[in-house]
C-alpha cells in the first residue's frame, strides 16, 4: 500500500521521533509513506475568523497539492490533522462556493479532486487492521500500563473530526491492547494540556499538564502516549519542572510505542529526543 504523507513542520524539528517512527513502522507494516513534494505549513492553528480567508490559504494549498497526486492524505501530527481536516470541511461546506472561489484565487495549484485527510491511527485501524498489526508484534508490551492521551485536537470539533468518540476516544487504547499492553482508563484523556499557554502563561499550562499526568498516574499509568507534539512537549516539560525525577511518567509518541513492539532497533526509536528519558524505565520493564 502506498499513501501520500504530509509530515508538517514540527515533525522536521521538535517531533523528529514521531516522524521517524511513523515512517519506519509503516514500512514494517507494508505501507510506504510517500512524502508530499514541496509542502508548506498547515497553519498550525485552524483559523476560525470568518473574514480572514488568508488563514485558509496554507492548508488549502496543501490539499490542492495533494489532490494532484491522490485522494487521501495521511498525517501524523494531531495539529496538522485537525487543521487540514477542518480546512477541507470549510471548503466543502454547502453554500460556501463563493468563499471557496476567493480562497482558490490565492492558490496557484488547482484542486483536482476532494482529498480525504486521515490520521495514521485511522490507517492502522481501518486500512491495516488490528489483527494484522498483532501478527507483526515481536515484542509484546506485556504488563505495561499505558495511558492514551488524546488532548483536544484529535477529536474536536466532533462534527468535523468524527473518527472517534469525542468524550471517550478509544483508538489508541485499542492500539495499546493490540500491542499486548494494558490500556489504562483515566478521566483526563481529552482534557487540555495547556496548549500554547506554555509560551506566555507557563504556570497555567504547568497546572493543566500536571493534572493530566497525575490523573493518569492515579489510575496506574506507567507510560503516556500522545499523537500531538505540543501535548508531548507540555506533559514532559511540566514534569521536568514540576517534581523529582523518580515520579515521572515517560511520555512517548504512539509511533514510538508501536515501533518498540514491532521490534525497531533502538536507534530508530528516537528516544534521545524525549526530554524524560524512557530508556531506563523500558529496560526495567524488559522491553529494551
Amino acid at each position: 500500500m502506498r499513501l501520500l504523507y504530509y509530515p508538517g513542520c514540527t515533525l522536521y524539528s521538535k517531533a523528529k521521533n514521531l516522524d521517524l517512527c511513523g515512517r519506519r513502522t509503516a514500512e514494517r507494516l507494508g505501507v510506504t509513506l510517500d512524502e508530499l513534494p514541496s509542502w508548506n505549513c498547515c497553519g498550525a492553528i485552524f483559523n476560525t475568523g470568518s473574514d480572514d480567508l488568508a488563514g485558509q490559504v496554507g492548508p488549502v494549498r496543501v490539499l490542492a497539492k495533494a489532490s494532484q497526486l491522490g485522494d487521501k492524505l495521511v498525517t501524523l501530527c494531531a495539529a496538522c490533522y485537525n487543521v487540514l481536516k477542518r480546512a477541507r470541511a470549510r471548503l466543502n461546506a454547502p453554500g460556501n462556493e463563493l468563499e471557496r472561489q476567493r480562497i482558490m484565487e490565492f492558490v496557484d495549484e488547482k484542486m483536482e479532486r476532494d482529498v480525504k485527510v486521515v490520521h495514521y491511527l485511522e490507517v492502522l485501524k481501518q486500512d491495516i487492521g488490528w489483527e494484522a498489526i498483532r501478527s507483526r508484534v515481536v515484542k509484546p508490551l506485556q504488563g505495561l500500563n499505558v495511558a492514551s492521551y488524546y488532548g483536544c485536537l484529535m477529536v474536536r470539533p466532533r462534527e468535523v473530526l468524527s473518527f472517534d468518540d469525542p468524550e471517550n476516544p478509544m483508538v489508541m487504547d485499542e492500539l495499546v491492547a493490540t500491542l499486548g499492553g494494558e490500556p489504562v482508563r483515566f478521566e483526563f484523556k481529552t482534557e487540555c494540556c495547556g496548549g500554547y499557554l506554555v509560551v506566555n502563561r507557563r504556570e497555567v499550562a504547568q497546572d493543566c499538564s500536571m493534572r493530566v499526568v497525575d490523573n493518569a498516574r492515579n489510575w496506574g499509568a506507567e507510560l503516556i502516549v500522545t499523537t500531538c507534539p505540543l501535548c508531548q512537549y507540555n506533559l514532559e516539560i511540566a514534569q521536568k519542572r514540576g517534581r523529582a525525577e523518580a515520579q515521572n511518567v515517560p511520555v512517548l509518541y504512539f509511533t514510538q510505542l508501536l515501533g518498540l513492539a514491532l521490534g525497531l532497533p533502538q536507534e530508530e526509536l528516537g528516544f534521545e529526543d524525549n526530554k524524560l528519558d524512557p530508556v531506563g524505565f523500558l529496560k526495567e520493564k524488559g522491553l529494551l
Binding site: N168, E191, N215, N218
Partner: protein
C-alpha cells in the same frame, strides 16, 4: 356521468387567507363532472354540514368532495353527514387544501392553482368510487396486557374488574416493575412498596387475570378483535404449583451473583426471588449461574426443598392465547450509565444512577435503608445530585426531558438529608421543572430543609483518592466550581425498555425517533395507536411519573372496555381485491404485505385477501407484476386518471 358537488371550506383564514376562494370556485365549476361548487367559512360546523346535506338533496349529488383540512381530522365528520343525507359514505372524499396547500404555499396565485389541481384529482377519484359497505368482524372479548409494572397492573385490574378476562404477561419472575424498586414516592413520601403491594396482590389473585410471569410475547398475528398471541414461558426450573416461597433454598444455594434488582449493589443466589413481597412469591433459578444447570455438581436446592418443587429438567413452553385488544405497558429503563463516561459512569463505583440510590434508600436494599456508598460502605457526607444526565442532550444523550428527574432528585436530596443530618446535599441542575400537583411545594421544601441547588451543567466527574470530584459551573454566580464529593447520583435519562422497543418493532406499532411508542394523536388519541386494537400505557409511550402512568393505564383500560362494550367491530372496506382471472399466484403480494393479510391459496394458486386483516395500504397492488390486485376505490385506472387531470 356521476354528479359531483364540491364544497370549499375557508377554515377561517387558514385557507381563505391564502387561496383565492372566489376565483377557485369559478375554476372548480369547470372541472368535468362538477355540477355544484359551494364555499363556506367553516364546513365542519353544524350549518356547514347542513349546507352539504341540503345541496346533496337539491342537486341530487352522487359524489361529494370537501376541500378542507386533512382527512385525518374531518373525513369521518363529512362522511357521516353524507350518510345521513342518503349518500354512501365512501362517495365522499376530502381534498386537503390546507396542510398540503395553503399552509405550505406562500404565493396566493400558486396556492389557488394548486388547490384547483388537488380538487380536480379528488373529483376524478370520486367519479371512480364505488359505494362500499363496512366489514363486520367478530370480537374476542379478552385483553392482553404486556408488562406488569404499575401501568400494566392498573390496566389489567380495570379491565378485569369490569368482568373481562385479562392475560397479563411479565418478563420478570414477579410483577411490580420499577415501582417495586423505589423507596418512597414524591411528593407525599409514601412508601412505594406499601402502595404497590395491594395492587400486585390483587392482580395476582384476581380470578379474571391470567398471570404469566417469566414470559415474553413472541408474536402476535390477526387483527383487532381477533388477535392470536404466542407467548414463550421461560423455564423457571421450579414447579410454581409446588413452591411455597419458604425461602430455604435461598439460604442454601452456594452461588452468588450480582442482583440486578438491587442495581448490582448486592449479591443474590442463583436461585432467587426479586424481593420478599414478590407476586407470585415463587423462586426461580437463573440458569446462567446455577452450578447444576451449568453441568457441575450441586443440586443443593433440590435436596433442601421441603416441597419437592425443583425441576432441573424444566423446558421453555409456548402458550397461545386469543384476545381482542392489547395494552402495551412495556415500561422504561434508565440510560446506560457506562455511556456517561465523562461522568465516570460505570467506572467510578460511587457514581450511581437514580434507581441505585432508590435501592440504597430502601429498607430492603443493600444497607438496610442507611445511606452508605457502594465502594467502601462509608456514610457519604457530601452527595452531589446531577440532573439531566443524558437528558436534554441531543449530541450525546437523548434530546427530550425525562420529566421525572427534577422531582425524584429533590426527593433523593431530601431523604438523604433526613438520614444523614450533618450531610450536605448539592443538586446541579439546568432548570428545575415542577409542573404537577404539590410538586413546586415539594421542591421548596427540599430547599427549605437545606438542599443546595447550583444552576449549571456538570462537565466532568472523576475519582481522586477516595473522593469523587465534580466539575461544574455556577451560572448564577458566573463561576467555575469544583466539588469534592463522597458520592454522586446521576439522574440518568429515562429511555424505553429495549425489550418493549423490540416487541413494538415486531408488531409494527409505530415508534418515535427515541423508541417510544407513538400514540394515534398527540392530543386527542393519547392511548390509542395507529394499529387498531393496540393501546398504550405507561413509560413505553414516554417518560411519566406514577400518577400519570396510572391515569394513562386506566384510560387505556377504558378504551378497551368501550371496545368490548360494543357488540361488533367494523373494518374499513377500503381493502385489496384480487382479480383471480389475472392472478398467477407468484406470491409477491404475500411477501410484500406487512399485515400478513394476503396469502396464496396453495390449492388454487391464487392470492386471497383476508379482508379483516387488510389495512388498505396498497403495497400489494403496487408489487403485483401482473396487475391483478386493486385497492377498492383506489384502482389503477382511477389513479391513472387522477394523475392525468392535474392541471
Amino acid at each position: 356521468m356521476k354528479r359531483v358537488g364540491v364544497f370549499i371550506c375557508h377554515c377561517g383564514i387558514n385557507i381563505a387567507g391564502v387561496v383565492k376562494v372566489p376565483e377557485l370556485k369559478e375554476r372548480v365549476k369547470n372541472i368535468d363532472g362538477v355540477v355544484s361548487c359551494v364555499d363556506y367559512v367553516y364546513c365542519c360546523s353544524d350549518p356547514g354540514q347542513k349546507l352539504i346535506q341540503d345541496t346533496i338533496k337539491a342537486e341530487q349529488l352522487e359524489g361529494v368532495v370537501v376541500a378542507c383540512c386533512s382527512p385525518s381530522l374531518h373525513e369521518a365528520t363529512f362522511r357521516k353527514a353524507c350518510e345521513e343525507a342518503g349518500l354512501n359514505r365512501y362517495l365522499c372524499e376530502i381534498a386537503n387544501i390546507r396542510e398540503q396547500c395553503s399552509w405550505v404555499t406562500a404565493d396566493r396565485d400558486a396556492a389557488t392553482s394548486k388547490a384547483e389541481g388537488i380538487i380536480a384529482t379528488i373529483v376524478e377519484k370520486v367519479r371512480h368510487n364505488q359505494p362500499l359497505e363496512r366489514v363486520r368482524v367478530p370480537m374476542v372479548k379478552r385483553c392482553l396486557v404486556v408488562g406488569a409494572g404499575i401501568a400494566g397492573i392498573q390496566a389489567a385490574l380495570d379491565v378485569a374488574n369490569a368482568g373481562y378476562e385479562v392475560v397479563l404477561v411479565e418478563k420478570e419472575p414477579s410483577i411490580g416493575g420499577h415501582m417495586a424498586q423505589l423507596s418512597e414516592t414524591f411528593p407525599t413520601l409514601d412508601c412505594s412498596q406499601c402502595i404497590l403491594t395491594p395492587r400486585t396482590v390483587e392482580a395476582g389473585r384476581h380470578p379474571k387475570i391470567k398471570l404469566l410471569t417469566y414470559s415474553e410475547v413472541v408474536d402476535i398475528t390477526g387483527f383487532v378483535g381477533n388477535f392470536r398471541v404466542k407467548i414463550r414461558q421461560k423455564p423457571r426450573y421450579v414447579d410454581i404449583e409446588k413452591c411455597t416461597g419458604c425461602g430455604i433454598c435461598l439460604e442454601k444455594c452456594p452461588v452468588r451473583v450480582d442482583a440486578v434488582f438491587d442495581r448490582n449493589l448486592t449479591r443474590r443466589r442463583a436461585i432467587y426471588r426479586l424481593f420478599p413481597q414478590a407476586v407470585p412469591n415463587k423462586v426461580v433459578i437463573d440458569a446462567d449461574s446455577c452450578r447444576q444447570l451449568q453441568g457441575k455438581k450441586c443440586g443443593v436446592c433440590a435436596k433442601v426443598c421441603p416441597a419437592d418443587a425443583i425441576r432441573y429438567d424444566d423446558q421453555e413452553r409456548f402458550i397461545e392465547e386469543e384476545v381482542g385488544a392489547i395494552v402495551l405497558a412495556t415500561g422504561y429503563e434508565l440510560f446506560d450509565l457506562s455511556r456517561l463516561g465523562y461522568y465516570g459512569g460505570g467506572a467510578v463505583p460511587d457514581v450511581i444512577d437514580g434507581l441505585a440510590f432508590e435501592r440504597i434508600l430502601s429498607a430492603s436494599g443493600p444497607f438496610g435503608g442507611e445511606v452508605r456508598r457502594p465502594s467502601d460502605g462509608k456514610v457519604p457526607k457530601r452527595v452531589v445530585f446531577v440532573q439531566c444526565a443524558g437528558s436534554r442532550d441531543s449530541t450525546q444523550g437523548v434530546p427530550y426531558c425525562s420529566k421525572i428527574c427534577c422531582m425524584y432528585t429533590a426527593k433523593h436530596a431530601l431523604l438523604y438529608k433526613h438520614r444523614v443530618h450533618d450531610g450536605e446535599a448539592i443538586v446541579c441542575y439546568i432548570d428545575v421543572r415542577t409542573p404537577g400537583k404539590g410538586f413546586e411545594e415539594f421542591y421548596r421544601r427540599a430547599t427549605d430543609e437545606g438542599v443546595k441547588y447550583l444552576r449549571g451543567k456538570v462537565s466532568k466527574i472523576f475519582r481522586q483518592g477516595d473522593k469523587v470530584v465534580v466539575w461544574a459551573a455556577d451560572t448564577l454566580a458566573g463561576k467555575k466550581i469544583e466539588i469534592e464529593a463522597d458520592m454522586v447520583v446521576l439522574a440518568t435519562a429515562v429511555v424505553p425498555n429495549p425489550a418493549g422497543v423490540a416487541l413494538a418493532r415486531k408488531l409494527k406499532v409505530a415508534l418515535d425517533s427515541n423508541g417510544f411508542q407513538t400514540e394515534a394523536h398527540p392530543k386527542l388519541k393519547p392511548v390509542e395507536t395507529l394499529t387498531a386494537g393496540f393501546f398504550l400505557a405507561g413509560c413505553g409511550q414516554g417518560p411519566k411519573d406514577i400518577p400519570e402512568t396510572v391515569a394513562q393505564a386506566s384510560a387505556a383500560a377504558a378504551k378497551v372496555l368501550s371496545m368490548f362494550g360494543t357488540t361488533e367491530l367494523f373494518h374499513e372496506p377500503v381493502v385489496a381485491e384480487v382479480d383471480e382471472e389475472v392472478c398467477v399466484g407468484c406470491g409477491n403480494c404475500q411477501r410484500t404485505c406487512a399485515y400478513e393479510a394476503v396469502k396464496v391459496d396453495p390449492q388454487r394458486g391464487k392470492a386471497v385477501v383476508q379482508t379483516a386483516m387488510c389495512e388498505g395500504c396498497g403495497a400489494c397492488a403496487v408489487s403485483c407484476p401482473s396487475g391483478a390486485i386493486n385497492l377498492k376505490n383506489w384502482t389503477k385506472e382511477a389513479l391513472g386518471r387522477m394523475v392525468d387531470v392535474w392541471r
